[in-house]
């Protein structure tokens, strides 16, 4: 009964070959997967290679990317933010109430749109700070904290509107998310900022150190509590920006906006390669992760598969990403 084989030998057997190892370790691994998928599935998908579809793909990918970037920042610290979808809903409702001519009272003033946007960002940031405060100062697990926030904030947003959508938003506001070029410009700018923040700033280094080992970070003078609060605040603000886009695209403030994207967000980040156990993650990875998830979403939609099939396939892809994540960590632990 050879129940426990020699461990190192066994680990060696499951390790992939050198070429596959290099590919796994590359930043562009998921981009490669995207290209292979496009070439394999694209030609058989009616209406895939059309400009309209490309624009559609882009306009739905942009807000998702913003939320995913925020989620990535939280994941790097070793946490998770389940409340992002509720933040999107609450921000949408708040912004719409401020800008609606009847409820807002600003009535077509020049400042309506900036006031609405600032209100949305502020709400996102405050909810994020509350999350971060509970996680860092009260030492509660991020999963429970943000789950509670998701339910509480989500319920609050519905209560605020009494389940009614709020229309009649200023057209300048709707253009922010509805006009793909503007949305693209804003997203690129934000992605660049996050990239600089992670790779080139002191805060970025602190973020990774906190994710790797909060005790070592604390003893090395990293303000761990502040870093955590800032990370959740970033996630909240980025969700708020995504809410600006979604609200603009729908031309409606609604508490259930973006309610179904939570798994897409976490899935995209993890597919990209950010580790659920903290300490690893890059903006580029998340961009590719979002792209991959959106490609699957888009092609399966065009093939007019049911929402159930879509969900099953997405689930399988996320599982595959988790397997790849485990493989990558093992490759990283065994330098060739």
């Amino acid at each position: 009964m050879p129940s426990s084989r020699p461990t190192k030998e066994t680990a060696g057997l499951i390790l992939p070959g050198p070429l596959f190892r290099r590919a796994l370790g590359s930043d562009y691994f998921v981009l490669g997967l995207c290209m292979i998928y496009t070439l394999a599935v694209g030609p058989f998908t009616p209406g895939f290679f059309t400009p309209e579809n490309a624009a559609n793909l882009l306009s739905t990918a942009l807000p998702l990317l913003l939320v995913a970037l925020g989620q990535m920042i939280v994941l790097i610290t070793g946490g998770i933010d389940l409340s992002v979808t509720s933040i999107i809903g609450l921000c949408s409702v708040t912004g719409a109430m401020v800008m609606n001519p009847e409820s807002g009272g600003l009535g077509g003033d020049m400042l309506t749109v900036p006031a609405g946007c600032i209100a949305m960002l502020l709400v996102g940031m405050l909810v994020g700070i509350a999350n971060g405060f509970a996680v860092s100062r009260c030492r509660m697990p991020a999963f429970i904290v943000t789950l509670a926030t998701m339910m509480g904030v989500g319920g609050f947003a519905v209560w605020l509107t009494q389940s009614k959508a709020i229309n009649q938003l200023p057209s300048a506001f709707n253009a922010l998310g509805g006009h793909t070029i503007i949305a693209l410009a804003i997203t690129v700018l934000i992605a660049l900022c996050v990239h600089m923040l992670l790779g080139r700033s002191v805060f970025g280094r602190w973020l990774y150190a906190t994710g790797h080992n909060p005790r070592t970070a604390h003893i090395s003078g990293v303000p761990v509590g502040g870093v955590l609060i800032a990370a959740y605040a970033c996630s909240g603000v980025l969700a708020a920006v995504a809410s600006v886009f979604y609200t603009g695209q729908a031309e409606t403030g609604s508490p259930v906006l973006g309610q179904r994207i939570l798994l897409d967000v976490i899935g995209a980040v993890v597919i990209g390669g950010t580790s659920l156990s903290g300490g690893r993650g890059k903006v580029l990875w998340t961009i590719f992760g979002v792209l991959f998830l959106k490609l699957i979403d888009n092609t399966l939609n065009l093939l007019s598969l049911s929402i159930f099939t879509l969900t099953i396939v997405k689930g399988a892809v996320i599982l595959l990403a988790a397997v790849l994540d485990a493989l990558r960590i093992r490759v990283a632990g065994h330098p060739a």
Binding site: S3, S4, T7, S201, H212, H218, I219
Partner: protein, 506 residues
Amino acid sequence: MNAMPAIEFSGISKSFAGVRVLRGISFKLGAGRTLGLVGENGAGKSTLMNILGGNLLPDTGLMVLGGTPYTPQGPTDAARAGVAFIHQELNLFANLSIAENLFLSALPRLGSLPWIDRKALHDRTATLLGQVGLAIAPDTLVEQLSAGERQLVEIVRALALEARLIILDEPTTSLSVRETETLFSLLRRLQARGIALIYISHLLEHVRELCHDLVILRDGEVVAQGSIETYDTPAIISAMVGRSLTRLYPERRGTSTTAPLLEVRSLTQVHIVRDISFTVHRGEVLGIFGLMGAGRSELARILFGLDTAQHGEVRMGDRVINRGEGPRERMVRGLAFLTEDRRHEGLCLEASIADNLALVSLRQHARTPLRLLDRNTWQRAISTVRAAVRLTEKVSDAQSVQTLSGGNQQKVILGKWLLAKPEVLILDEPTRGVDVGARFELYQLILDLADRGAGVLMISSEIEELTGLCDRILVMSQGEIRGNFPRAEFSREHLLAAALPREAHA
């Protein structure tokens, strides 16, 4: 004397990815005898013992256990053959009781029912614990035991499996002096019962105290073997490092001054430390000796702001450090702290060497208005400090620190703090688990720092190390300072006498 050797290795070789870590290892060990296995980190001790314990397969070579060929395919085979391996990091389940840990693979059952026979489990465990003189209830959870008691439970587990050969890897690193004595008296009883022991340790005095035979490994080869009496300590060390180390401690160039750097006045925290007062001077290496549980580490944690004290005052230079100041503020004041737990408190194990080195001094490289890091000055600082701490050249900056040996990991932590240019460096057991060669280099770095005018507060459980390095030694016991010895008065006996706890008078 038993004629049949308990274990015989002949021509054991092993390579990993083309690198030979063991070359033709041959030696034997008689039943009831104890073999000290020594060598620097990376000499191949762990690999050899993992082969013996069934965790690894040898490429070539034979092992004969008690007269029969022994080819374990896994740890289960090894256990069945009577070989027990007690690892440095213990393999007990902290959330289970002693009894459950001992019989985990063969829990006694009520007849053929799937229920555990609690009474039989309890009784059998009590018998075994009685055999080693451990007076603890079998139902005690392992998490409630001290490090020393856990070590004994590991040995009891080996006995429960009727082991004939027990491998002990650095068993005393986390034990107090008294616990070590208990362990050694138990090991002597095992010797008397004819059980063969292989004892791995960097502490040569322990090896000398316990072992009959000695095998010295270097670069995967046996460089010396024989009866322990034939080797004196300098001979063992020079065989281990492959050159003769004329001295164990580097020469001190500078001297201590009388200018105070860190002043501690009547620091008190109930049940932890009481009325602690001392001063670290510029250029001074001040040692703190004490037994496990004397309050030394706790004192260091209070000084660095990781724990709080109820009373007392800490001053750096001419400024009082506020009680509420955390590590971050104290770092800015010029304090640095190398904790005793390098894996969990000193390093980010999965992160790169460069990231670990830069962690405390990041802000020096972010002077632009946007606080972005300047990669050039950052890289230069890392290269400089790598050279300063003499980190092995074989590794790249991007490699994760978990791939380094203990000594090199410790150099990374020391390098990290050197980059912060500390005024006072607090070191808690800096050489634990570090081999002789790397120790010398760490000592050199510590003395260099003092020579440049910093103050060093060094906590250690090894008297030799403290007397070899320090200008002055404080002795702590039961949370109080019980002695203050200047260099001229260093004596092993006096230090140890001051460290022993007093019986409660009042």
